[in-house]
């Protein structure tokens, strides 16, 4: 692979100076890294990378993983109340997928030299965040559909470009996750369509859900470009491929015709097609609300964190038992008696 070759050259140059960590060596590594990124090559776990690149990725991947885990809660809220067995199966499968995505993303983060335990601890102590969208409550069954259509739709718009992210393990995780996410999104759309075409009460339920989830979904793309401090560096490193506002615009343009075919309206009086720009103009986002939710003052921040911490704390004795059992029974495995503990 070209990346490996470039890094090999850098290593040879660095070691050629007699000390890989001196200034000359680091420069050689950095040059190779920059060249690999410029050439759209993938950075792999054993490759040299700038410390800031590593820590940005750890933060971003971890927060992505946390979002999958916290994101289970608003939807799981409706598993026991799903109105048909088919819908119940779809929802259960979706929530299960989210746990799987979380596991997958924690693994990707671990390739950068951290651990899942450490990351979960940062989540539980509030030192790392999760997507602000999951701090909104699911008040009716239609919210499950709105989350699928809008929230998963926004996530996909954000995540598809990440399939080409410069860090290999993250890019590969996104390829797999995006496949399942698009499936969830179609299911959410189909759920809303069934409601929209159902009884007047069902239609009203669908409209109400879209009214409540539209603006928070637009906020998922993050602050406007001029208030997004990490964006420039992330784009230079090809972690990010498009700006927040670009992706948000793309999402609005996708959603408008979908809302029409759903027979539902979007709650924005300023939303209209702009012939000149070739895009939809839309109203101003309530950034005060966005920052407030991000700071922990959204409708469900407290509830989500309390449930997550409780699940973790109440499960401690189970994890301890599993560890104690593994310690007791690891002797057999080390001496090759692999069958001894296998049921």
């Amino acid at each position: 692979m070209a990346t490996a070759a470039a890094h090999e050259t850098a290593r040879t140059q660095a070691y050629g100076t007699g000390d890989a960590t001196d200034t000359t060596g680091t420069d050689a590594y950095e040059t190779a890294f920059d060249a690999a990124v410029a050439a759209d090559e993938r950075i792999e776990p054993r490759d040299w990378m700038p410390d800031a690149y590593r820590s940005t990725l750890i933060r971003q991947i971890a927060q992505h993983a946390h979002s999958e885990i916290i994101g289970m809660q608003p939807e799981a809220n409706w598993i026991t109340r799903a109105p048909s067995l088919r819908r119940k199966a779809i929802l259960m499968a979706k929530v299960q997928d989210e746990a799987g995505h979380g596991l997958y993303l924690y693994s990707a983060a671990e390739t950068l030299g951290t651990s899942r335990d450490e990351l979960l601890d940062k989540l539980h102590t509030g030192r790392q965040k999760y997507s602000s969208i999951f701090n909104y409550p699911t008040l009716t069954w239609a919210d499950v559909g709105a989350i699928g259509w809008l929230v998963d739709g926004a996530a996909i718009t954000n995540q598809v470009p990440l399939c080409r992210c410069s860090y290999g393990p993250y890019a590969r995780a996104m390829v797999r996750i995006c496949k399942e996410e698009s499936f969830h999104q179609r299911q959410g759309y189909e759920l809303l369509l069934a409601l929209s075409r159902g009884t007047p009460e069902q239609h009203a339920m669908a409209q109400d859900a879209v009214d409540r989830w539209w603006w928070p979904s637009l906020m998922m793309f993050g602050p406007p470009d001029d208030e997004s401090p990490h964006s420039a560096q992330s784009m230079a490193w090809k972690i990010k491929r498009h700006s927040n506002d670009e992706l948000r615009q793309r999402f609005v343009d996708i959603c408008v015709p979908q809302a029409e075919s759903l027979g539902l309206t979007l709650p924005d009086p300023d939303l209209r097609w702009n012939e000149e720009r070739g895009h939809h103009d839309f109203g101003v986002i309530d950034w005060a609300e966005f920052w407030d939710v991000l700071k922990g003052n959204g409708p469900c921040n407290e509830q989500r964190m309390t449930q997550r911490r409780r699940a973790h704390d109440e499960g401690a004795w189970v994890r301890e038992a599993a560890a104690a059992y593994a310690a007791k029974h690891s002797g057999g495995r080390q001496t090759g008696e692999t069958g001894a503990t296998r049921a």
Partner: protein, 233 residues
């Protein structure tokens, strides 16, 4: 068909209980595993209830007294040990049952052929956790022992005859006792001593006589469907 309803209700109700774990499991891998088992069971329930009528009508519009599930599967999740004890008892039974049905030529043979593979996995999952909780820490051992004892009295009902179900209950019961006893032994747990088939509990769920938490479970499960009569979802 009474048997389709009985087996379908078992799967439906246990699936629902396992669904309550979503977002609450002790470790992420268990979020995946418990949801996976719940989904398998829900799949079985849908096939079985469809053999007996309309799956949604049967699931959402029957009153508590018309449900035919075992009392074991309607028991609240409790702590993780209770959930695992319930899984151990039920999946061992279900695996034995489906293995027997799969070998026959009755109406359940096609479903059983698929379900036997799923229940083998469920059984392995429950056994592995029984070992870890029983033979892990002292605290976990105590919890697991308590859970096994608390649910023991619901286990006799599994082997009572069900109309339309052509299986040898006695033979299955002795196989079940041997298997569960062996797993508990390996997990350093003792087999509970209480009765398994008291006059009240034996066969009660199959006759529509349930325990108190079940009505509340159904209220939650059926509420939305019942609020919109005739709607499709």
């Amino acid at each position: 068909m009474t048997a389709a309803l009985a087996l379908g209700d078992d799967a439906l109700v246990l699936s629902h209980r396992l669904g309550e774990w979503a977002g609450h499991a002790p470790v992420l891998e268990e979020e995946v595993a418990l949801a996976n088992i719940a989904l398998d069971l829900l799949g079985q329930a849908r096939v079985l209830l469809s053999m007996a009528g309309d799956e949604d009508e049967l699931a959402f519009l029957r009153e508590e007294r018309a449900f035919r599930n075992l009392q074991l599967v309607e028991q609240p999740n409790g702590d993780f040990a209770h959930t695992i004890a319930r899984q151990l008892y039920f999946s061992t039974y279900q695996h034995l049952l489906y293995a027997e049905l799969a070998a026959g030529h009755g109406p359940f043979a096609p479903l059983a052929g698929k379900a036997v593979k799923e229940t083998a996995y469920h059984r392995d999952h429950a056994e592995q956790w029984t070992l870890r909780l029983g033979d892990g820490t002292e605290a976990a051992h105590e919890r697991m022992q308590r859970a096994c004892a608390a649910l023991w009295r619901f286990t006799g009902e599994m082997f009572r005859p069900v109309e339309g179900l052509d299986v040898d209950g006695e033979r299955m019961e002795s196989a079940w006792l041997a298997s569960v006893g062996e797993v508990l032994g390996r997990a350093t747990l003792t087999v509970p001593e209480g009765p398994r088939s008291g006059a009240w509990t034996a066969g009660a769920g199959r006759q529509g006589l349930h325990t108190e938490p079940f009505g509340r479970m159904l209220a939650e499960m059926q509420h939305l469907h019942r609020s919109h009569p005739g709607a499709s979802w």
